[in-house]
Symmetry: C2
Subunit: 362 residues, 2 copies
Amino acid sequence: MKENRIYNFNPGPAALPLPVLEEIQAGFLNFAGSGMSVTEISHRSKWFDEVAEDAIARCKRLLKLDDNYQVLFLQGGASMQFCMIPMNLLPDGKSADYVNTGTWSAKAIKEVGILGKKCSVVASSEDKNFSYIPKNIPFNADAAYVHITSNNTIKGTQWAQFPDTGDVPLISDMSSDIMSRPFDVRPFGLIYAGAQKNIGPAGVCMVIIRKDMLERVPASLPTMLKYTTHADKNSMFNTPPCFAVYTLQLVLKWLEETVGGLDKMAAINRKKAEIIYGLLDSSDFYRGTAEKDSRSEMNVTFRLPDEELEKVFIQDSADAGFGGLKGHRSVGGCRASVYNATGTDAVEALVAFMKEFEKKKG
Amino acid sequence: MKENRIYNFNPGPAALPLPVLEEIQAGFLNFAGSGMSVTEISHRSKWFDEVAEDAIARCKRLLKLDDNYQVLFLQGGASMQFCMIPMNLLPDGKSADYVNTGTWSAKAIKEVGILGKKCSVVASSEDKNFSYIPKNIPFNADAAYVHITSNNTIKGTQWAQFPDTGDVPLISDMSSDIMSRPFDVRPFGLIYAGAQKNIGPAGVCMVIIRKDMLERVPASLPTMLKYTTHADKNSMFNTPPCFAVYTLQLVLKWLEETVGGLDKMAAINRKKAEIIYGLLDSSDFYRGTAEKDSRSEMNVTFRLPDEELEKVFIQDSADAGFGGLKGHRSVGGCRASVYNATGTDAVEALVAFMKEFEKKKG
């Protein structure tokens, strides 16, 4: 820890790499020799052009995106995508397949109905309190798309492998695990991610869209709700959330240049997850809530023997400099979110604290 | 100027008060003793609650809003409001009145048509290249609302007084003059302002809505596009653009505590405008483009004798440390945007530079 900073296990907004924060701070009154703060430069200036172009180029390199994919920076978070996706990509008369793996999937499904469009919930893990990722899903070959949530922050589950949907394009909310591991993007028609967990601060949603999907966009939609509006103008139809895009750019630079890319990031994340799940598995005091083959490497959800102890654990851990360990208000319990920027050192310190806590209270 | 900072006349994103930038910078690695950057704290933490509540309270005090008004922080900029307003507030079968005073008004009008709803353009200044604000407008007494653009950044015009629309609620895009002067909010059903000109960085749009307007919101809209969603959850339905809200809060604090409120801000802005329009009026070299009674105190648009000289002026001024003086790409010419955070000292320095330039080239 540095300058009285805590170990940050927040579920989002979440930890950012310290070198990124330090770079922002150092140049905050005079960005890149512009004589202005990054918050004061025009979005149509050479300075911001370089930021946005570099962010896009790094995203494309990190995810190995070819020119069939366009990277957009939109506003409204993943929640806005829940309605934009069916508005843009689900033609009347067609149906889309949705997999329900928890709160965020359910919210995405709800918007399809509000729009008066059709979807099938082809699989759900609601029967076991969303503690697992469904397998052997009967996808519809004529679906407009298949929507999944790659990582479920609240229930602590994650798709270890993405499902085979044949020719039907996959769409995924990757808000909480984008850039945490490499994957084959080719089955995906659209990927979206609110930045505030793994790639930046709140206020920008990265949308990666395959160009054939853009052909589906109805001409009749309001301008700001059409993917084509933003694709045609390279996310500059109106003023983008410049500071959030700038921070995201620095996070991707850190991922490429300091971490060394997604293979290395994935190895680090796997190690972090092993350390903390290792403790859960070897303990009778702590109990993981997700089924083992569906465990998230990003959000480790666990319970203590009773709720009273959980309260004490959350308070004591906060006092000891560990932030954000309270489970989501809808499920209770505890959760350690270990996104890219939460280092192995933080995880090791947490596990040491947890062992000590068990010794005292177990 | 400080630390090689320039005089910033950008039209938006634009200058922010230096003390605000310095406060952000100083606490950037450890916000309010949280041990985290303001970009890393949870939007549901006590730290962010205080930020958001303080921003709302300051907005209410500065604009003298009573409890009939709610202050929201939304994403998507003013451009998203262009469609949200008719979606939410223009019932089928009714018509709204729009006044067309330039590019941004026209964009707002366009969205009504895209939605298949009805409006009347009850006045337009297009006949004289949008160089004036229309007078004696024949508003419809049964209109759902009257929409105006209080300040037109591109053409440099501003409503000196707001029109009397009787019982019909006024709606205004105030992106470029919100908080630049006091005004009577009571005729307004909704006011919206992309923050990046007068009150913050890009990435947050402040929406002030009167509670009776919320009763119009159709239940059938997508969740994120309903004002009621955001009003019911006090702008916390999903993760807000935290950093932009925080910066906005500090700008409003500066307005209240350092400037001393909107009467004082208005007096400063009037003085700044007088200095620069005074030069235009006394010169045969520089020529203001807006009619005198419609001049904007925020965006001073002017021409030089020819386009070649304008190019030289823009280049020479940039070399001398004055940024953002190029007119909007759709109209050419020159423009000095003198929002709240661009001080009298900057305006005086600009006028001195302009006099010198005229001497050399005139």
